[in-house]
Amino acid sequence: MKVLLVEDNERVANFVKKGLVEAGHTIDHADNGRDGMFLAASEPYDVIVMDRLLPGGIDGLGIIAALRKSGSKVPILILSALSEVDERIRGLQSGGDDYLVKPFAFGELLARLDALVRRSQDQGAETTLVVDDLSMDLLSRKVTRGGKPVALQPREFKLLEYLMRHANQVVTRTMLLENVWDYRFDPQTNVVDVHVSKLRHKIDAGFARPLLRTIRNAGYMLTADD
């Protein structure tokens, strides 16, 4: 995917650039608001990573507001050291799609960018999600693996739905907390891992090929690929 990074901190920018290039993405970088605004308005990007406080006359939220006003629907992830809940709300209200607080783990950034791009691409309202021989009917709320029904609690269903919608993508624990439970805090304990391993037991136990993988230092991925 083609990413625009608007970030004035050189070290953070290099870190993100290297990581994204290594993950196989194309990246443009602007180190001030003016250039960022220019690039965002003139080039088609799959996703934009936007710092909030920028030199060059216009700050991150200003760029986002201007882009949205001109009708642009490109997904934007705001990257900021401002961590207060009110700041986050302000960021999302200005037209941002996700908000990541610095300092952050690169895995978290990459997973969120993938999720944003995926979300903006599949606009169709599917009624069935399929990953390999695992299938989820969103209308009847039935899940089968290899034709055999899998009984899930409502929350487990929601967890699996999120994983299936982001199949073949890394999904972090924070993303699961935010999207499956609507929680925005970091539990001291590994509760999310326990939920995932319970789900894994239900969908993978007795099958030769496990679908729900743990990605070290990042999170989880539901995939049929090896």
Partner: protein, 453 residues
């Protein structure tokens, strides 16, 4: 000695004096008027009678008869205190009586007149009733009222004297009040200065016996107590932060330095770096928790309050932690008496309840039981009680566990940095409630109390 404004004491004295004199005047004026009215009335009456009687003499005996009667009654010489009589013709020339002449300044119209005359060099205050007789003759019947004038001046001097005494007393008491106030204020000022200079343990003296300024002193002392407590807290927190951040930073540093010194093969270097990143994440985690706590405690977020069913939030939190409880062999149960609506921030409330359950899970023994109960209290407050049957918290430790970074004896060797209960308390306060810790015999019963609005 600092010069303090004398405004209050001076105004108090002026006000006191003015009011006192006004009251005095209010009391004396009607008295004076009534007294005057009665005396004048009685005098007029008796003069009129005299004049009537003498007129009858004139009608009966003629001019000579009246002159004879007047001479017989008062003679020709005037003595003080005596009755005054004067018979004159129409040019006011004396015909008979003890007044030597028609007194100057007295009109000859019939009726009451007052004025002065001089008798043997001494002024005499007189009150006269003038009457006309047939033939143009005029009759003056009067009294020497000098002795009454003395009484009048006595009255006026008395009033003046009383006002003078009030003035002196007022000024004196004003000065005394000012002196007393000044003393008190300077006492407070001295203590405050000592506190400014850094001696936070100083307190204002309380004299007891319901002294007015004691109320002020007590309030200020309570304020000082709170300030000292807060400052102490800040100092503790700074120490705790420094200490708790130093540990992971020390580990990080030694890990990196070890890599630098030993130069192990690349796989091991990568492993070391991974651990180093985990160390940094721990530090970041502590910072995030602290920032969040500060955000909550600054009470800036009430704007984001919505109607929340606290029982539902608690039920979801219980469900969230259920698998972890199962894994630990702990029975986690939730009970509620229906919907418990409060005004609040659902995210924060969820985090607070989550922290309580998290804590309970940390301390519950194997095959233990945790109960989460939502209920509405008498008076409308809503409570979420999380009870476990773990080691509990000794009474002596209870007030300290919600301090930042405080970790009780029982928590040694468990993960966490000691900010969990601080956050719960912060959230409770933000929602107009409190965190209550009680004995569950055995174990701990931690209750999040939230105001319904």
């Amino acid at each position: 000695m600092t010069e303090l404004p004398r405004f209050s004491a001076r105004n108090l004295a002026i006000g006191y004096i003015a009011v006192s004199i006004a009251v005095l005047a209010l009391f004396a004026t009607p008295l004076w008027l009534e007294w005057n009215r009665r005396i004048e009335g009685a005098r007029t009456e008796s003069l009129r009678e005299d004049s009537q009687r003498l007129s009858e003499v004139f009608h009966r005996d003629g001019l000579a008869g009246l002159a004879g009667a007047i001479d017989a009654e008062v003679g020709r010489r005037l003595r003080s205190g005596e009755k005054l009589l004067l018979l004159a013709d129409d040019s006011r020339t004396r015909l008979a009586g003890n007044l030597p002449e028609w007194p100057p300044g007295i009109a000859d119209s019939p009726g009451m007149h007052t004025g002065w005359t001089t008798v043997a060099g001494t002024p005499m205050s007189i009150s006269l009733f003038a009457a006309r007789l047939p033939g143009g003759y005029r009759l003056l019947v009067g009294r020497d009222v000098t002795r009454f004038r003395a009484m009048e001046s006595f009255f006026w001097y008395g009033l003046l004297g009383a006002s003078g005494i009030i003035l002196v007393l007022g000024v004196l008491s004003g000065w005394m009040v000012r002196r007393a106030l000044l003393g008190e204020v300077q006492g407070i000022s001295r203590t405050a200065s000592a506190i400014v200079a850094g001696d936070l343990s100083r307190r204002l003296p309380i004299r007891g016996g319901a002294h007015e300024l004691d109320i002020l002193a007590q309030t200020i002392n309570r304020m000082l107590e709170q300030i000292e407590h807060l400052l102490h807290g800040v100092r503790n927190v700074s120490n705790a932060i420094a200490h708790d951040l130093r540990t992971p930073l020390a580990e990080l540093r030694s890990r990196l330095e070890e890599l630098l010194v030993t130069r192990p093969p690349p796989e091991e270097v990568l492993g070391g770096i991974e651990s180093a990143v985990a160390d940094v994440d721990r530090v970041i985690g502590i910072f995030n928790a602290l920032l969040r706590l500060a955000e909550i405690e600054s009470c800036a977020r009430r704007s984001g309050f919505v109607e929340v069913d606290l029982a539902k939030v608690a039920a979801e939190a219980a469900e969230f932690y259920q698998p972890l409880a199962e894994l630990k062999g702990v029975k986690l149960s939730f009970e509620s008496a229906g919907v418990q609506t409060v005004a609040g921030d659902p995210l924060l409330l969820a985090q607070a309840i989550g922290n309580l359950i998290d804590n309970a899970l940390k301390f519950a023994p194997l095959h233990g039981a945790i109960t989460i109960a939502a209920a509405r209290r008498h008076g409308g407050m809503v409570e979420i009680a999380v009870s476990d049957d773990g080691p509990g918290i000794p009474d002596a430790e209870k007030p300290r566990v919600s301090q930042r970074f405080y970790r009780g004896d029982a928590s040694r060797g468990t993960p966490g940095v000691g900010l969990g209960l601080s956050l719960v308390e912060g959230v409770a306060r933000l929602h107009g409630g409190a965190l209550e810790l009680a004995d569950n015999r055995p174990g701990l019963r931690a209750t999040l109390v939230v105001s319904p609005s």
